[in-house]
Amino acid sequence: MKQFIARRIGYSLLSLLLLSLTIFLFIRLTGDPASLLAEPGASAADIAAIQKKFGLDQPVWYQYIYFMGNLLRGDLGESFYYQTPVLELYLSRLPNSLLLASVAMSFSLLLGIPTGILAAVRVGRFWDTVGKFFALLGLSLPSFLVGLLLILFFSVYLEWLPSSGSGGFLNLLMPAFALGWYFAAAHMRLTRSSMLEVMGSEYIKLARLKGLPEFKVIAKHAFKNALIPVMTLAGINLINMINVAVVVETVFAWPGIGRLLYEGISFRDFPIVQGVVIIGGSMIVAVNLLVDIVYAFVDPRIRLEA
């Protein structure tokens, strides 16, 4: 078991190292940030001065080692554009991202779990088909398209909801829907399959044999059991939501981490992009590591595989 955990941690660190290297190199392919930071028509000497200020005149391998050295001390560097530490920027945007992710998660669970149960109880019938169609759309429609259609419909035609920005509860509705639909579909499908498995179990048969009404059989005996895997997935997805909201936050101009990343990319603000990607990547790697370890504790077969 110790060996298993050690190996998993090793793999996780390797993933993060590769992630940092990849993002470090790829962001440098977007071009020279100095040309964006300097005033239009700035002289070559001015640009060279800016490059020198941010250490961009050094060879790339040197920049990387310098960056990694700082990273190990917990320093993600300073934004070129805002001139503030990346971590500070990140933490100032995090509450907005958490708010959006929580609302999107609540929405995805409130929609996904009941429809999943309905689809399982009415398997192969009308509501199952409706649910499958809804899930297919949610899983396959890109969120920018959903976002734009929402804006078109609710902001432009109906003028019910603000098209962008933050501040009020109404501002949250469309981004939460655009972000949550995919996850609602995923939660619906897992609830459905988990529910179907539970409904075929012997204890459900026994609950029926006790003479319980079907509603109690489902609500008491099946629901709680079917929920366990859904809650596991939802926990992992909450982390994912914070990190994959780039497109949705950009479409709705929601000032979260996703939007910070987008700004970083468009300004060639290397430290921001590197910082956001590495923090997000670490969260996802950490959650996966945790899940792997918990599963290994629960299921001895997984330990053997390692």
Binding site: S201, G211, L212, N225
Partner: protein, 345 residues
């Protein structure tokens, strides 16, 4: 097995506890093209205090018969004809909400797999008391108290602490006794036990069978015991019904059927029991495979495996004959005309 010769005077006055008349249950595939006659024209009578053993190979329709009795068939299953009279009251046409008040209340059932039949997320007390709360409107605390009493009656040690525990904290034998406690919680008239001991080891099996028998005597239950173990039938039952391919091919008092089996299938089943006294005899197995239930041959379903089959068996289905008083068999060998032409005068 002397008690199998019942007091016939009282059974004439009182309707039997359970009477099945020509009961048939079919499973129909979604397209309607495949029909499996899982229970086919089954008739059976059971009195309070009696135990009927239903035996047969896997897929012979034993469990489908049990599910039919409680009307908890899977979606593809339909009761297509016949009657099920419980105390003279037919269960087949009953609406679902009335049927629900019979399940767990008048008819209890014990499922095969004790490890899987308890819900892992609820306490034993909750699960044992649940039928009481549902059928008798018992309060949470009184259901809990009665659950303790029920655990005591199925001989679970220190029931006061056991009620607060979860299924994973119990052994298999203990869990099956708990399932038994659930089965008898509302003092049903009829208890159906579907191979309740198959997953228990032998010493626990014996304990469990003794427990069931004691409970039956105590509550004067009608007991339907589904099994493939004829040894258990001999120990537990006073009446035996043998199923093959959905049909009840032979039935009668246990001692009579064991001594004079009328159907070659019953005979074959009996000769496949190992006996301590005849250790030199080779154990006989029944040749061939059970038939494809969705595509049964014409005539008798057992004809292809029957050592004594003749032409008529392969073309014409045998009706129910009465080879001896109280005994029935679906076999041409015991038809009055075959016996007349044979040695029997």
């Amino acid at each position: 097995m002397l008690n199998s010769t019942r007091n016939s005077a009282s059974s004439d006055v009182m309707p039997p506890l359970l009477e099945l008349r020509n009961l048939s249950t079919h499973y129909v595939s979604a397209s309607g093209s495949r029909v499996v006659r899982a229970v086919d024209d089954v008739s059976l009578t059971l009195h309070a205090g009696d135990t009927v053993g239903i035996v047969g190979e896997s897929g012979s329709g034993k469990s489908s018969l049990a599910l039919t009795l409680l009307r908890v068939l899977p979606p593809a299953g339909r009761i297509v004809s016949g009657q099920m009279l419980l105390d003279g009251d037919d269960l087949v046409p009953k609406p679902e909400n009335e049927m629900r008040r019979i399940r767990g209340k008048k008819i209890g059932m014990i499922l095969q797999d004790p490890m899987a039949s308890l819900n892992p997320l609820f306490t034993i007390g909750d699960q044992v008391g649940e039928p009481l709360r549902e059928h008798e409107g018992a309060s949470r605390s009184s259901a809990w108290k009665r659950a303790i009493g029920l655990l005591k009656s199925v001989r679970i040690p220190s029931p006061e602490t056991r009620v607060t525990q979860y299924p994973h904290e119990m052994s298999g034998g203990m869990r099956q006794r708990i399932v038994g406690a659930i089965g008898i919680s509302c003092e049903p008239r009829l208890l159906i036990a579907d191979e309740p001991t198959t997953s228990l080891d032998l010493t626990i099996q014996l304990q469990y069978l003794n427990l069931l028998r004691d409970l039956q005597k105590e509550h004067n239950l009608g007991l339907i015991f589904i099994t493939h173990n004829l040894g258990i039938v001999a120990k537990m039952c006073n009446f035996l019904a043998v199923m093959y391919a959905g049909k009840m091919v032979e039935s009668g008092p246990v001692s009579q059927v064991f001594n004079n089996p009328a159907h070659p299938y019953t005979e074959a089943l009996l000769s496949s029991i190992p006996r301590m006294t005849e250790n030199r005899r080779r154990l006989t197995a029944i040749e061939g495979q059970p038939p494809d239930m969705s595509n049964l041959p014409p005539g008798c379903a057992f004809a292809a495996r029957c050592p004594r089959a003749f032409d008529r068996c392969r073309t014409e289905e045998p009706p129910v004959f009465t080879p001896a008083p109280g005994q029935t068999a679906r076999c041409w060998l015991v038809a009055p005309e075959s016996r007349a032409t044979g040695a029997v005068s």
